[in-house]
């Protein structure tokens, strides 16, 4: 049994400790907002916060999350509330297929937690590990800056 906190709730998971955290979240815990994109840490679709740090859940084994706090896109804001970046993404309509958005929200939320008034360069740097093929990068940058206002 591996014990960890996910979006503020403490959970116990019986999977093999080597199981990728992403599979645990999606398959065991039903938190499908975190997405598979590449499986090797190169695209950002699977980003979660692990003790507040942006982490690729696809190449992080469950064992590495033992006793730690995981936050997924579903846990960015309590209940039905929206995180400021979620709200700003809707206001800026910063999405097309939307598959990349969960990971971007995680990167952006981590940035704003550490740096509530980031510069545009800081936003770009914070999101550089997130790929988007539909090309909404500039809208996302605008949204994150707006969320920081």
């Amino acid at each position: 049994m591996t014990r960890l906190t996910v979006n503020g709730c403490s959970v116990e998971v019986g999977c093999d400790p080597g199981t990728p955290l992403l599979d645990v979240l999606r398959g065991e815990l039903g938190l499908v907002g975190t997405r598979f994109g590449c499986g090797v840490g190169l695209c950002g679709a699977c980003f979660v916060l692990l003790d507040g740090r942006v982490t690729a859940s696809c190449d992080t084994p469950l064992s590495a999350a033992e006793g730690r706090a995981v936050v997924t896109v579903e846990g960015l804001a309590p209940g039905d509330e929206l995180h400021p970046v979620q709200r700003a993404i809707l206001e800026e309509q910063a999405g097309q297929c939307g598959y990349c958005l969960s990971g971007m929200l995680i990167s952006a939320a981590a940035l704003l937690a550490a740096e509530p008034r980031p510069s545009e360069e800081a936003v770009v740097r914070a999101l550089d590990g997130n790929l988007c093929r539909c090309g909404v990068q500039r809208r996302i940058v605008r949204a994150v800056l707006k969320a920081a206002e």
């Binding site: 990728p20 999606r26 039903g30 499908v32 579903e74 929206l82 993404i89 097309q96 297929c97 500039r138």
Partner: protein, 694 residues
């Protein structure tokens, strides 16, 4: 009938077009709401499925709004009329005395909602009344068409709600993985037996099933070790795509000839032409683009279930066409099409014929081995980047003769390419990847050329928009190839516009003329002129230094002009793109902007970075390190100017920017560096090579 009205007032519209990330369902909902005189909030767009709703073929080619819009508008108008007539009957007034606004019918002080009238209007029980069956009440004023209403699907996506086919959780789900051959020419020769792994094999098609995703992944890893392949060197030399594309056999496509006096004949293999030598000074240049991958962030995914009891197959897919996919599955599986139901579920952002249909067949083949249980198959990143069809590499010669003032008197264009369409059903073939690997193979043939009526493939935008007096445009489609290609956003237009518009700049420069003025001097199309001017004004056109690119997509679609500002030393960076676009009547202005911004960003990525890599045996660009795409730090700012023409037919925006952006960047780079790179992508190596060559 694709429209139903519930007594709760909800109006459900079963669309024939599918959401691919482009926001089409939102735009169609706007059209439906206005035609119904309904509130947007009461309109529900239902995803396409084969069992009901219109068969509108593929959602492709920027034709969704142009094709589905009018049909949907007409359907909804008939529904509105039927309800109007019912309200009039109830109130004993003539139908044209009844108005409708935001879903409420009214006459004098009387009102009734769609919900109130629903039971009395039998929409789903019989065919809708034919148009003109009763006096036409005046259509309501447009309320939401032309307005930037927010995307209907985004709220789910920002909070991570299940929305994609990857998230579909059906009871008893199994996970499937497919082991693709290591190279296009590979054949399975031996498979060592595997204990405790549920293997599915049919010829060289190999897959595994697992109760959980990690179990399926572990099984796949074991299967990989147990499989022995025989590989062959079948691929061309990636460093000489010009030679590869120009070595036949070819089909010759006579795109357009307006003269028997073309400027000069590029070397097409020795057939001399008739006609006089051209008047004027002859310029010529050769351009190319490499193979390009779809490279969606979401891997292709599908779910399939065989129901033993009634012999039906259900498939959940992010295909571009539920009906063509059903036909193709029926062909490969030897199963009657009317026993197959394909339902659309959102998936990867879609930029053309990607792996969506292929993975649906994978899922069906694996699910056949586990009757009654839904099997979800998801491709790996490597499958995605190496096995989904590519956009074809292309090579083109442009030759123009110009008079003493530099004006073009004749123009010849030859383009060599593989075909650009091999979608399910093209020329009757299922066109599904796994079909080629089965014991009884149903191989996909080399890609073909879409009809001129649908805009052509390699010939798309090969005809310049300018008023050139003499033209000869010829395509040469490679008939045999080991590399699978099909439709990728804008098909041949990306390359053709890049080549034409690069060459226009080369001619302008040779004549010492401003590139904008040079284009305008050759252009009588008024809407085109306006778009060019608007882009130039918005960008504060300063002449060479900025780069310009322009086209009308497919010759009959959206006009688009792009101005690029770049920094180029040894590494090219696009700082800003200013784009003016005329898509006719705009249904959703922000939706159009979003499509143009996204298309432009993707086109910048293709232009600067992208190239499918291979050696003589394998496709080697199987991850994001070997197939890099544009990152946040490289994404240009994009400003969009909408040139509105209310009342003109709406045309799509999704593909309009691809070619103009490539040309604008290439032209800006040429001024910045003083040398011209004619082979895409404009990587550091390509730039250095061009500087050296100079």
């Amino acid at each position: 009938m694709s429209v139903t009205v519930g007594s709760d007032g909800l109006i459900s519209v079963r669309a024939g077009k599918v959401e691919l990330g482009q926001g089409v369902l939102t735009a169609l909902a706007q059209i439906a709401a206005d035609a119904l005189g309904a509130d947007l909030a009461q309109v529900r767009m239902l995803p396409a499925r084969t069992g009901d709703g219109p068969d509108e073929g593929f959602t492709a080619g920027s034709m969704s709004i142009a094709h589905a819009g009018p049909a949907l508008r007409a359907d909804c108008a008939r529904v509105r009329e039927a309800f109007t007539v019912e309200a009039a009957r109830r109130w004993g007034v003539p139908p044209d005395a009844v108005t409708v606004r935001r879903g409420v019918f009214g006459c004098g002080g009387l009102t009734a909602t769609y919900g109130d009238l629903a039971e009395a209007v039998p929409l789903d029980r019989e065919e809708p009344p034919p148009p003109g069956a009763f006096p036409h009440p005046p259509p309501p004023e447009p309320v939401v068409v032309g307005v930037s209403v927010p995307r209907l699907d985004l709220p789910d996506k920002v909070v991570g709600r299940p929305r994609f086919v990857h998230d579909l959780c059906l009871p008893g789900r199994l996970y499937g993985r497919v082991l693709r051959p290591p190279s296009p020419g590979a054949r399975l020769v031996r498979l060592r037996p595997l204990e405790g792994v549920r293997v599915v094999r049919d010829g060289s098609f190999l897959g595994v099933l697992g109760e959980t995703e990690p179990e399926a992944d572990r099984a796949l890893a074991r299967l990989r070790k147990a499989a022995e392949w025989e590989e062959r060197d079948t691929l061309p030399d990636e460093r000489d795509l010009h030679a590869y594309l120009r070595t036949g056999p070819h089909e010759t496509i006579a795109v357009l000839t307006t003269t028997d006096n073309p400027p000069a004949e590029p070397d097409t293999g020795g057939s001399p032409t008739t006609g006089e030598p051209p008047a004027g000074t002859v310029h010529t240049a050769t351009y190319s683009r490499p193979f390009i991958a779809h490279a969606s962030i979401a891997p292709s995914c599908a779910v399939a279930r065989w129901n033993e009891r009634d012999g039906t197959l259900e498939v959940w897919s992010h295909t571009q066409g539920v009906h063509p996919l059903r036909t193709a599955l029926a062909q490969v599986l030897g199963h009657p099409a009317d026993r197959i139901e394909v339902r659309h579920v959102e998936g990867a952002g879609c930029y053309g014929h990607n792996g969506a249909d292929d993975v649906a067949l994978d899922a069906a083949l694996l699910a056949r081995a586990a009757p009654g249980r839904p099997v979800q198959v998801r491709w790996s990143r490597q499958d995605e980047l190496t096995w989904a069809p590519f956009g074809s590499a292309m090579s083109a010669d442009v030759t123009a003769a110009v008079d003493a003032t530099g004006m073009v008197c004749s123009w010849a264009y030859d383009v060599w390419s593989q075909g650009h369409v091999s979608r399910p059903g093209h020329r009757g073939f299922p066109g599904l990847l796994a079909g080629a690997h089965l014991e009884q193979p149903l191989t996909y043939p080399a890609a073909g050329e879409p009809s001129p009526a649908s805009g052509g493939g390699m010939a798309r935008n090969a005809v310049p928009i300018y008023d050139f007096p003499h033209l000869r445009i010829t395509g040469h489609r490679l008939l045999e190839t080991p590399i699978r290609t099909s439709a990728l956003r804008s098909l041949g237009a990306f390359m053709n516009v890049f080549a034409i518009e690069s060459f226009m700049d080369e001619l302008a420069l040779a004549a010492d003329l401003d590139p904008l003025a040079y284009r305008l001097a050759h252009l009588s199309d008024e809407r085109g002129r306006e778009v060019l001017r608007r882009a130039a004004d918005a960008a504060g056109w300063r002449g060479p230094g900025q780069g310009l690119g322009f086209a009308r997509y497919k010759g009959n679609g959206a006009y688009c002009a792009a101005v690029a500002e770049v920094e180029a030393e040894h590494h090219v960076r696009v700082r800003h793109l200013t784009i003016a676009v005329d898509v006719g009547q705009v249904v959703n202005p922000d939706g159009v902007r979003n499509q143009i911004e996204g298309g432009a960003t993707q086109a910048a990525s293709w232009t600067l970075k992208e190239r499918v890599r291979f050696d003589r045996r394998r496709i080697t660009s199987g991850d994001w390190a070997s197939y890099p795409i544009l990152r946040f730090s490289e994404a240009p700012e994009v400003s969009v100017e909408l040139v509105e023409h209310p009342g003109t037919p709406s045309v799509g925006a999704g593909e309009a920017a691809q070619g103009p952006v490539a040309a604008a960047i290439a032209n800006a780079v040429a001024y910045a560096l003083g040398v011209r790179v004619r082979d895409l992508p404009l990587t550091r190596e390509a730039v250095l090579a061009a500087i050296e060559r100079d």
